[in-house]
């Protein structure tokens, strides 16, 4: 079923919307949650929470890209769950993602940085716009979908080393890009 029709079902408050969403995007949402949590039951729970959140958000929201809308919800829910779980369990792969991103930030919290946080996504969008398509896909797959390096290499038919080098350079570029615009993370 097309996304617009599924969204229409949400607007009609038809419960079929949930089953259609699960049939079309369930696997994607589970994989996003799995990349962060590395636990199948937690990922499944995140998936169900996503459907509930989507049910509550539509209407009034009418998402432009339904897969990205659902993915963002799953990502946020999974991140909250990861924080909840982190004391007891560790997901080495997701820890790696965060460790990589630490290269771009100072680790300190300040009033300025909290203010900047609201505008940061826009700047990152601008940064991504200037990247080559392949580099952008690698960056988004790693830091949005939290895909393992091996998975990205396999998907794009390139070596793992190349993915690592591209990510390394892109993080450097992102840091410089933000610093040039007066954003000190």
């Amino acid at each position: 079923m097309e996304d617009s029709k599924i969204i229409e079902l949400y607007w009609q408050r038809s419960e079929q919307a949930i089953s259609e969403t699960a049939g079309k995007y369930g696997r994607l949402l589970r994989s996003i949650a799995m990349n962060i949590l590395n636990n199948f039951s937690d990922a499944e729970e995140c998936e169900n929470d996503t459907y509930a959140a989507a049910w509550n958000a539509i209407p009034p929201t009418r998402p432009n890209v339904f897969s990205a809308f659902l993915g963002k919800i799953t990502r946020n829910i999974a991140l909250n769950r990861w924080e909840y779980n982190r004391a007891a369990r560790r997901n080495r792969e997701f820890d790696l993602v965060l460790e990589e991103l630490e290269e771009c930030v100072s680790g300190r919290e300040s009033v300025e940085s909290l203010f900047e946080a609201g505008q940061l996504a826009e700047l990152i969008n601008e940064f991504l716009k200037g990247l080559k398509r392949e580099t952008r896909v690698i960056f988004v797959r790693r830091y949005w979908y939290s895909d393992p390096v091996k998975e990205i290499a396999s998907r794009l038919r390139i070596s793992e080393s190349k993915v690592k080098v591209v990510l390394f350079r892109t993080r450097e570029q992102l840091k410089n890009f933000l610093e040039e615009r007066g954003v000190c993370l």
Binding site: A68, L79, L101, L128, K132, Y143, W144, L156
Partner: protein
């Protein structure tokens, strides 16, 4: 801000980019399993192709080349692995041709035994004794199947020789044995791969010496009809000096490899000595130095495992102006502007300058060295940065640097950058 907060912010990027990344689907052809299978299949095809090519060449040489050198000498020159290949080919033919082939071999053996008294000692062919001065150690290890093959080859050649009128030279050239007027199998055959030695025993003239040291130069000698040569028995003096000998490549004139110099000697060079460092980067060992005074060229190299650093000194000339880099134009030298492979990313007109830009020494900074560093992920190789650039000194000396594994900071300190 923490990494987790940045991760959340990245979550707010445009849906367009999220969708774009989602659509970059995995390709079946790109999966590691499929790639491995394809690679294995390609290797198998290559092996089979090579095997049949060897077999085909073997058949052709037996059928048509008819070089009237003795089969014994052909086999004596063959290396051990070639004998093994011939044996495999022979085994295959034997199984294919079954009984008919056995009869053929019997008749060939009879022919051979009848003529062996004139041509060669059959004991030699069986590897029982090496002929004095002409054989190699390997001939004593020839397998019986290879001797069988020799017999067949001998018979074919004899038939071919009968078809020629007396004194007629067969197509395909003459053997060294014939050229020297000796018909015995003790004479070694003409071998284009062997270094040369004058049969006549006369010492070559100075003008002839460089050519004689070039592998493959015997073709030219043979064409001129002068100085037909043969491989040196029991020694290979030409090969020992091959690394240092002038070498003709693709018809270009031989390049003088220059005089070997130590680092200390290089530092004494009047032209370049002032720019030669006292030592290489930390952990690197000086491996070679070469000076060509007459061409104003000096090469130095240091190595550390698979990593290396090469310095090439010369005098700048106006023809290299297209490689002179302006620090204000990073697109001419900043490797982060381009992706690997560079051949696909760098515009054609910029290839010379991006490949090896020349910086005036006063323009050179550590930032430039960092901009020049790039990484090439290659399985089995070290993952250090690669740097390539030229430095033009005020007195016209040009230093071209090629390195792998040396960090920009390390190179900067070696060049005396702050």
């Amino acid at each position: 801000m923490t990494a987790k907060e940045l991760f959340r912010e990245i979550g707010g990027i445009s849906d367009v980019y999220v969708e774009e990344a989602e659509r970059a689907k995995r390709s079946l052809a790109g999966s590691p399993y499929v790639r491995r299978t394809l690679a294995a299949a390609a290797c198998l095809c290559l092996c089979l192709g090579s095997f049949y090519a060897v077999r085909l060449m073997d058949d052709r040489s037996a059928d048509s080349s008819g070089a009237p050198q003795s089969a014994a000498s052909v086999q004596e020159e063959a290396p051990a692995d070639a004998a093994a290949i011939q044996k495999a080919a022979l085994d295959l033919e034997m199984s294919d041709e079954a009984a008919g082939a056995d009869e053929f071999s019997d008749s060939a053996q009879k022919n051979f035994l009848a003529e062996g008294e004139q041509e060669a000692n059959p004991a030699d062919l069986r590897g029982e004794a090496a002929p004095a001065g002409g054989g190699s150690d390997q001939e004593g290890q020839l397998p019986a199947a290879a001797a069988e093959q020799e017999k067949e080859t001998s018979r074919d050649m004899e038939e071919y020789g009968d078809a020629l009128s007396p004194g007629e030279t067969p197509a395909g050239g003459q053997s060294a044995a014939e050229a020297s007027g000796e018909g015995s199998s003790d004479a070694e055959p003409f071998d284009a791969q062997e270094p040369l030695r004058e049969i006549s025993g006369e010492e070559p003239t100075d003008a002839q010496k460089p050519m004689m040291e070039i592998p493959g130069a015997d073709v030219q000698q043979g064409q001129s009809g002068e100085g037909i040569s043969q491989g040196a028995a029991g020694g290979d003096p030409g090969r020992e000096s091959a690394d240092r000998a002038p070498t003709e490549i693709c018809g270009l004139p031989p390049v003088d490899p220059g005089e070997e110099v130590t680092l200390e000697q290089a530092r004494e060079s009047q032209v370049f000595g002032a720019y030669v460092p006292a030592a290489g980067p930390e952990g690197y060992v000086f491996s070679a130095g070469s000076l060509r005074e007459n061409e104003n060229r000096l090469s130095l190299s240091w190595t550390r495992g698979l990593d290396y650093l090469e310095y090439r000194y010369s005098l700048y000339d106006a023809g290299q102006e297209n490689r002179l880099a302006d620090p204000e134009r990073p697109e001419d030298y900043d490797m982060s502007c381009y992706s690997i492979p560079l051949s696909e990313a760098v515009p054609e007109e910029k290839i010379p300058i991006v490949d090896c830009p020349i910086f005036r020494v006063q323009d050179l900074t550590e930032a430039i060295l960092e901009a020049r560093a790039y990484f090439v992920p290659e399985a089995g190789d070290t993952s250090g940065p690669r740097i390539r650039l030229g430095i033009l000194y005020e007195d016209g000396v040009l230093l071209e640097i090629t390195s792998k594994g040396v960090t920009p900071e390390g190179l900067g300190s070696l060049l005396g950058l702050e």
